[in-house]
Amino acid sequence: MTPELLVVKDLSTTFDTPAGPLAAVGNVSFDLNQNETLGIVGESGSGKTVLSRTVMGLQPRTNVTVTGSVLLNGFEVVGASDVEKQKIWGLQVAMIFQDPMTSLNPVMRIGKQIDEILRVRLGMDRSAAKARAIELLELVGIPSPAERYSDFPGQLSGGMRQRVVIATALAGSPQLLLADEPTTGLDVTIQAQILNLLDEIKERMKMSVVLVTHDLGVVATRTSRLIVMYAGRIVEMGSTREVFANHRMPYTRALLDGSPKVSNPSHTRLLAIPGRPPNLLNLPPGCSFAPRCSFATDRCRQERPELQPASAPGHSFACWNPLPTSRGATS
């Protein structure tokens, strides 16, 4: 049993808005082992990005309250000052952003953006840092890295830029990599390349990866465990295989029905989830998904279901009327 790298307990992120408190992330608990890939899926606005940023310790300076605990390698992220967090940022935890078009400084050569961290944080001298930066560029699959070293971001395509972004994130050899929708801004063909690259690097550098996405196809084969979020809360979590095969929460089913499958005959209509995600300022008292759920009962609308364990170890879900599993077990 490998020790846990990341332990998140009862984490809530609440924004103080003029209209009242808005719980973008509510009572989330999960953990992550070393060299494991965890997927976080959910619709837009389900709190995935806020969750990953909170885990990172990135919040706006004002109007936000974070409670709970994020223990990263024994370091408590919640409540730590920026100066304290600067010690782990880059070296223990790094982040890849959604849009490679905006996550590189347009007026700085890409090589410089990579070797900044090497020189400032790892104390390498100029030539050693340059050599290592070129090595990293090669690692992320950039052709003729020594020449690309002095290119500006504007001279590279989107896929190449995302590779550079990954290289900058890897520069400090972090143990945890948070990838916040790393492929949303890219073409489908490039998406697969980037995801395979992340996988390969994760194995090579023995990192753990948190993959945040709204695309179930992305997480299906690349993650070992999966968290499904809705309205800022975890509604189902478990091993990826278990969640795909024996999901109990109707929302997970709806998400799966909403993504195309190769086994379907052509021109099969995708099932869209009716309605919209709830307004986080004005959550219904019961299950947040109840207004859109076809299985909802009065109990669902009155009482909020808590996460409960399912039959498979590590699998849990929050639902009063869980779907039957393929094994025929009830809750």
């Binding site: 010690k87 880059g90 935890v93 790094a94 905006t102 996550s103 347009p106 400090g172």
Partner: protein, 294 residues
């Protein structure tokens, strides 16, 4: 024959377009403006060395003369050479503009960047203060201060105009920085463990710089106009020291006898400002397009 000509032309065209090093041209007018400013600057610096007539020497045998070979722009009502007074006068304008913008940018720009990056209470307090300052028209505020702060000297004018320009610089730099501070690459640098200081210098400053530079050029023009207005009201440097503004002021009384006295300093002022504005505008659009391409 004709087809090969076309092919050649096409090839040439495509190669010039593909070359990534080829920069977008700034245009001939831009360079004319730059050389004009440099010429003015050079004249101001080298005024003592150049074979100019003494700008203070009063030659009563030629008063209110029109342009001639001996007095290129003519003479004023005291027989002083206008050309040499314009060259010496540019010193005051340039000194006041550079000096006060050094104060304006030296204080306004770092504060603006800091406020935009840190936000929170610091930002709201400072911004409220600066905007309150902005509510007073600069000309009235400077007139008020300069009327009481006597005897006047160049340094005092620089300080007063400089302080008056701080909120203007602050506003422009703060807005520009705010736009950049929310970009992902700034957050990316932060989560790589970059210190605030490093983010300001390496990430924010290079991206704010083009806007800062073009505002600086437009700012110089504004400050020169302000100095001109103050001089026209007799609140700038004391006569007989020439400045473009007080030369225009002096010409007012004898406009009918000697219109040249008004025309030349006004022309010098106008051309200088026009060039500054044009360059600033040109640079801004030049950098803006580059940013859009990225």
């Amino acid at each position: 024959m004709s087809s090969s000509y076309f092919v050649n032309e096409l090839v040439e065209e495509s190669t010039t377009q593909v070359t990534p090093e080829r920069k977008k041209k700034l245009g001939i007018l831009f360079w004319i403006c730059v050389s004009w400013l440099l010429l003015n600057l050079l004249g101001a610096i080298l005024a003592n060395v150049l074979p100019l007539q003494n700008p203070l020497f009063q030659n009563y045998s030629v008063i209110n003369a029109g342009p001639s070979l001996h007095h290129l722009f003519g003479t004023d009502d005291l027989g002083r050479d206008i050309f040499s007074r314009i060259v010496y006068g540019s010193r005051v304008s340039i000194e006041v503009s550079l000096g006060s913008l050094l104060i304006g940018f030296g204080i306004g720009a770092p504060l603006g960047m800091l406020a935009a990056y840190r936000r929170g209470k610091f930002d709201s307090l400072l911004t409220t203060f600066m905007y309150t300052f902005l509510a007073f028209p600069a000309i009235i505020a400077t007139i008020a201060v300069l009327s009481f702060w006597t005897p006047r000297s160049l340094l005092k004018i620089i300080i007063v105009v400089g302080i008056a320009s701080i909120p203007l610089v602050y506003r422009v730099i703060r807005t520009a920085t705010m736009n950049i501070a929310t970009k992902d690459y700034v957050i990316a640098a932060k989560v790589q463990g970059a210190t605030d200081w490093r983010i300001m210098v390496k990430e924010l400053l290079p991206n704010v710089l083009p806007i800062g530079v073009s505002f600086l050029l437009i700012g110089i023009a504004t400050v020169i106009t302000l100095e001109g207005s103050l001089a026209f009201l007799g609140l700038s440097v004391n006569p007989p020291t020439p400045s473009w503004g007080n030369m225009i002021n002096e010409s007012r009384t004898i406009l009918q006898q000697n219109p040249w006295l008004a025309i030349f300093p006004s022309l010098a002022l106008c051309l200088f400002l026009l060039c500054l504005n044009f360059i600033g505008d040109r640079l801004r659009s030049h950098f803006e397009v580059t940013e859009g391409n990225l």
